[in-house]
Amino acid sequence: MTTNEKSWPQSIRDFFCSLKLTMFLLITLAVISIIGTIIPQGSPPPEYLQTISQNKLKLYQTLGFFDMYHSWWFILLLSLLCINLIACSIKRLPHIWQTITQPVLVMSDGLEKTLSSRTMFITNGDSSTLRDRIAAVLKAEFADPVITIDGGAFHLFAQKAPWSRLAVYAVHLSVLVIFIGAIIGSLFGYKGYVNIIEGQTISNVMSRTDKEIDLGFALRCEQFSVAKYPNGAPKEFKSIITVLENGRPVPDYTNVRVIVNDPLTYKGITFYQSSYGNAGDYFFTVSDVSGKEGATFKVDRNSSVTLPDGSSMHIIEETDDVSTFAPALSGPAVQVEIHDQRGGAEKVIVYANHPELNIQHAKEHSGGLVLQYKGSQKRMYTGLQVAKDPGVWVVWLGCLLMVVGIYVAFFMSHRRIWVRVENGTITIGGNASKNQAGFQLFMEQLVTKFKKQLPLEDNK
């Protein structure tokens, strides 16, 4: 048996502790995340079928490409990242901890050779005077030194910001904290939406997974309005909302303004302005091709009606002025979809100001029914996104830790200086965990200051 062979647990540990794995994971995550930005995520299958074949659809579906950021293999990669992170930290932290809490006070010859910055000079004078002068300079210019006597020499040790070595671990911990926050959010929170017609009161919302959720209170939409800039671009979408408990308005939550970028939060549930529309009634008459006035009926936006010939009809789109679509025409119009009894479907535009076009359409098509549009009664509804996320504060805490951690890791440095005073020979050594060039400069200035303070025979 050779000594090179590693035991199983040992090689597993090495695998998870290796920075090669880190590089592999970071780059793999970067590359495969691209898939989800090219294939639209979470659209219903029929939409995909317009661009890809049935077989490809099946394949992509099994691979989870339509919701890849929640697929098992993406989660697996993220979990591997966490394990890698934890394993690396467990392996390195004890050593770092020791560096911080039990500093090496004496510069041995071995240590001296590893230091990036070293100077030696010879001076005269009594060792303890030299020691005190050097200690005073160190204290004034750097940090209060610890003095040890070892092997007939004085050893001075001073350091700054030893804890900055922990910053990298704070950054890594922050990644885990953010994941924990995300998990809390997905376990105990939900995302949903609700449409409320002006004047209507609701107490349930629909979750993204199409489950009804009871809010525990009620919400009334008092009003919805859109403001426009002079050039016609939208300026503000505004809902006026009242929160009700047991049917009574809650004092501070009555007639609250909810606009984009300014949501309403009540009992940990937040409501965001996200869409709007007309839920009003649309009026039509229906007759035969002779064109005489027929019976009036109404359709609301969200349901369909059955016409005299047994086909059904529902509203798709409306406009107050068709001239924006067809410049020769004018007045209101709606687009409706008619399903006949044989299962055929047809989209038809029905005009208010152009009965002749409506008759012409009926003549050209087999149905023979003439629809005339008589206008609508507007009732706006507001569409609100609903979110409850008890994990979000954990996520922000993680972010804060990450930002502070990165700042300290990059811009602060653990600096150590050792001085040995031995029979008139002064040896100075030091190193820094970051920005060596800057530290080198600092050391040169420090040595100059030492020399100024000491009785000295510079034997250069």
Partner: protein, 282 residues
């Protein structure tokens, strides 16, 4: 004095600065060209700062007051400004002027593209962008992007220099020998990314905070968000590369170049080619 006139002068100054840096590479006996390059760049930066402030003020005069960060034109102009700013900071701190020859072209391209290829009118803000978070988010992201642009320029320089050092000895007198040594360039690359990475991190976090405030989800895997995360992964890999043997030097330079390519895709490609919530572009 209008902002657009100042922007045009700025563009010319950046062009002059770039040419001066090229001259500094060719003519290495005179330090004059290097200094001229830096001074014109600083002059342009100052002018552009005034121009951006003026445009901000003009938007209030038009009654639609908002920071000039609201459409593709304004963002490209701001990107150029941040690139010169980050270059300026590195120049003041480390004094390796000639990297300007590889950085100023990015700033110039931005200004030229914005002014030759885009509509520059001041438009009112759509409701989705009416938030102070826009300011924090855009500023941090773009400062990060700019640092990566500078790092990319330095990395290209590194690859050229390193090739030269390997072929070495024979032809000593070439333009490339005026470049800082590959060790210095490698270090500068790291320093630029050390500026960019925290800023990108802040940019992603402010974006998440804004999304959470405005829509109730701090992360929805929208293409732009995902691409910013891809960029972040690449630079995190770069930072770890320095600790791993075998991933320094050339490979690190390539990571930095790929990182910037991803950054540009995140900034422009996503808007022009993919669909999503971010409304810049077009």
């Amino acid at each position: 004095m209008t902002s657009s006139l100042l922007f045009n002068i700025t563009t010319l100054l950046y062009l002059a600065s770039m040419l001066a840096f090229f001259a500094a590479l060719v003519n290495r006996t005179k330090s004059f060209f290097g200094s001229a390059g830096s001074f014109t760049a600083f002059g342009g930066l100052l002018l552009q700062t005034i121009a951006i402030g003026l445009r901000w003020k003009e938007s209030y005069t038009l009654g639609v007051g908002h920071a000039p960060l609201s459409n593709l034109y304004e963002s490209v102009v701001f990107f150029s400004w941040t690139i010169v700013l980050i270059y300026g900071l590195l120049d003041l701190k480390y004094r390796y002027r000639v990297i300007g020859a590889f950085v100023m072209p990015f700033a110039l391209m931005g200004m030229a593209w914005a002014h030759l290829g885009m509509k520059s009118g001041i438009e009112p803000l759509v409701p989705a962008l009416q938030s102070n978070w826009l300011l924090y988010h855009v500023i941090t992201c773009f400062l990060g992007y700019a640092a990566f642009a500078v790092a990319c320029g330095i990395s290209i320089m590194y690859l050229i220099r390193e090739n030269h050092e390997r072929a070495a000895q024979s032809k000593k007198e070439s333009i490339v020998s005026t470049f800082p040594t590959s060790r210095v360039l490698d270090d500068l690359n790291y320093k630029a990314i050390m500026i960019g990475f925290p800023l990108l991190t802040l940019g992603i976090i402010t974006g998440a905070a804004w999304a959470n405030y405005a829509w109730g989800t701090y992360w929805s895997w929208d293409p732009k968000e995902t691409w910013s995360l891809i960029v972040w992964f690449i630079y995190a890999a770069f930072l770890h590369a320095r600790i791993t043997k075998g991933w320094v030097g050339r490979r690190a330079a390539w990571l930095s170049i790929i990182g910037f390519a991803a950054t540009i895709f995140c900034y422009l490609g996503v808007n022009l080619l993919l669909s999503g919530l971010h409304s810049y572009g077009g």
